[in-house]
């Protein structure tokens, strides 16, 4: 499993993202709540450029006892949406929100004490 240094991701703030290309494959590096994660830039739906999408709150909805629909934010800045068809993926698990059969690989990114960022694929 090769390891890559990612100087582009050094100091990436929470909520931030950088794109990197490693051995011809594109990845989005995200700072999710202070922890760095990497996702392949390929949507399992139609191979759209997933990481060119934006990060959104995870919106859920419920039907109240009085049969009203109540939408709410379940988690802030928790999903990335593919810009082609809007399919949303959980940034921590890679699961697609509409159907967990679809999933993108999520890699943990290592941050050394000196701030050096490394990704092992």
């Amino acid at each position: 499993m090769p390891t890559y240094d990612l100087p582009q991701a050094k100091g990436l703030p929470p909520g931030g993202k950088v794109m990197v290309t490693l051995d011809g494959r594109e990845y989005g590096i995200y700072n999710v709540g202070g922890r760095l994660r990497a996702l392949r830039n390929v949507c399992p739906d139609q191979s759209g450029p997933l990481c060119q999408g934006d990060v959104f709150d995870r919106i859920e909805a419920e039907v109240t006892p009085s049969r009203e629909i109540r939408e709410y934010v379940k988690e802030k800045q928790a999903v990335v949406a593919c810009p082609w068809h809007g399919w949303e993926y959980d940034l921590r698990t890679g699961e697609c929100l509409w159907n967990p059969r679809y999933r993108v690989k999520v890699y943990d990114v290592e941050v050394a004490a000196d701030g050096t960022v490394r990704l092992t694929i």
Partner: protein, 385 residues
């Protein structure tokens, strides 16, 4: 299928000729004015663009791109409102030939003002032929026939049919007036046959405020199903009112309802026909037999949990002969060519036909995408040798 397969991002690339039979162009109606007489010239040239639009397209009341979750311009892609933009998108999607249908005029069938409908269809085709189509680079369009005035539509077809940028005639099936089997529309069908042009029936939806088959369905996810309803309604009328018998040379293409509705209609209509044949004396065979002579756009191809479901549908509808690939770019449910490329049950020859070969036979391409001229038959004497 569910897991990222590492095949690389973005568009599918293919060595075969890919024809997109349903790409959308975002026409600016102000540019129509110079082709029209007054008062429409000034009305369109000076269209305010504020609280009045020539067509109140249904999608204006929705956030189609889901609060920024989908992107088009923000990906650095052009709006397809000019020839260069169309070429750039063709390159992005990996298509070689593009059949441009309108954006704004997708709602043309729903407006009540006959004179406005005639003027807009007139302005659209003049603008497209003068400023956008490019047969040598694979850019074609359709003459949009307004259902509000079939005689005016027929005149427009006769006037522009010979232009090499025209590959067919289009009508929108979200038409709340008489369904398309009615003889009221015969002038349009006669004009298509007279000019050897196929008729593309493109679906649409009225939105919750519309007044066609999706009326009252509240949210976007509900209302969008009207694309299927509208094609079903027109298909039923066209078959049972005998359009294929009255116009046997007319080639019909149904666009934008996916593929699963096709076998549903084949067998549903056959069942109805089996019980009430005398009500529809035009028919000489079961409805499904007529449906097999029609053509169908692939988009939006249904996402199914098991590929074999698609395989069965493809088998039922003779897909390798009847389907025409379509992207529907830039709409929210567009399909990339890879939806066909990745099908494991299709032969390479079958993919060739669906992605391009069938379209080349049905639509009239005079430049890029044109079929080679038929080879002259060998002289009889040589053939005997």
């Amino acid at each position: 299928m569910p897991e990222d397969n590492g095949s690389g991002p973005s568009t599918a690339q293919s060595s075969r000729l890919v024809v997109d039979t349903d790409a959308h162009y975002y026409e600016n109606p102000r540019l129509f004015g110079k082709f029209l007489d007054e008062p429409w010239r000034t009305r369109l040239e000076r269209w305010s663009g504020l609280y009045y639009a020539p067509i109140a397209a249904a999608s204006r009341t929705h956030d189609v791109l889901v609060g920024g979750r989908m992107k088009r311009k923000d990906l650095g892609l052009p709006v397809t409102d000019c020839r260069d933009g169309v070429l750039e998108i063709m390159k992005y999607l990996g298509t070689d030939v593009s059949v441009l249908l309108p954006g704004l005029l997708l709602g043309i069938a729903e407006i009540s003002d006959k004179r406005r409908a005639v003027a807009l269809c007139h302005g659209f085709i003049e603008h497209m032929l003068a400023e956008t189509v490019d047969p040598a680079q694979g850019i074609y369009t359709l003459i949009v026939a307004c259902n509000q005035s079939p005689s005016d539509a027929a005149t427009l077809i006769d006037r522009h049919a010979s232009h090499e940028g025209v590959c067919g005639v289009g009508m929108m099936t979200d038409a709340p007036f008489l369904p398309f089997g009615d003889s009221y529309y015969d002038p349009i069908y006669e004009a298509c046959v007279r000019n050897h042009l196929p008729l593309v029936l493109h679906s649409g939806y009225g939105g919750p405020e519309g007044h066609e088959s999706g009326y009252g369905l509240q949210s976007y996810v509900e209302n969008h199903i009207a694309f299927v309803f509208n094609n079903m309604r027109q298909m039923t009328s066209i078959i049972f009112q005998g359009v294929p018998e009255r116009f046997p040379e007319l080639k019909l293409v149904f666009q934008e309802a996916g593929v699963f509705w096709i076998p549903q209609m084949m067998f549903r209509l056959d069942s109805e026909y089996s019980m009430r044949r005398p009500e529809v004396p035009w028919l000489k065979k079961p409805p499904s037999e007529y449906m097999k002579s029609f053509y169908y756009g692939t988009q939006p191809l249904e996402r199914v949990p098991n590929e074999k479901y698609l395989k069965y549908v493809f088998e039922m509808i003779d897909a390798e002969r009847t389907l025409l690939f379509a992207t529907d770019w830039p709409h929210s449910d567009f399909d990339a060519p890879m939806v066909i490329e990745r099908m494991s049950f299709l032969s390479e020859a079958g993919k060739d036909r669906i992605l391009g070969g069938n379209a080349r036979s049905v639509l009239r391409f005079a430049g890029k995408g044109a079929l080679p001229p038929p080879q002259p038959a060998a002289p009889l004497a040589e053939a005997r040798v």
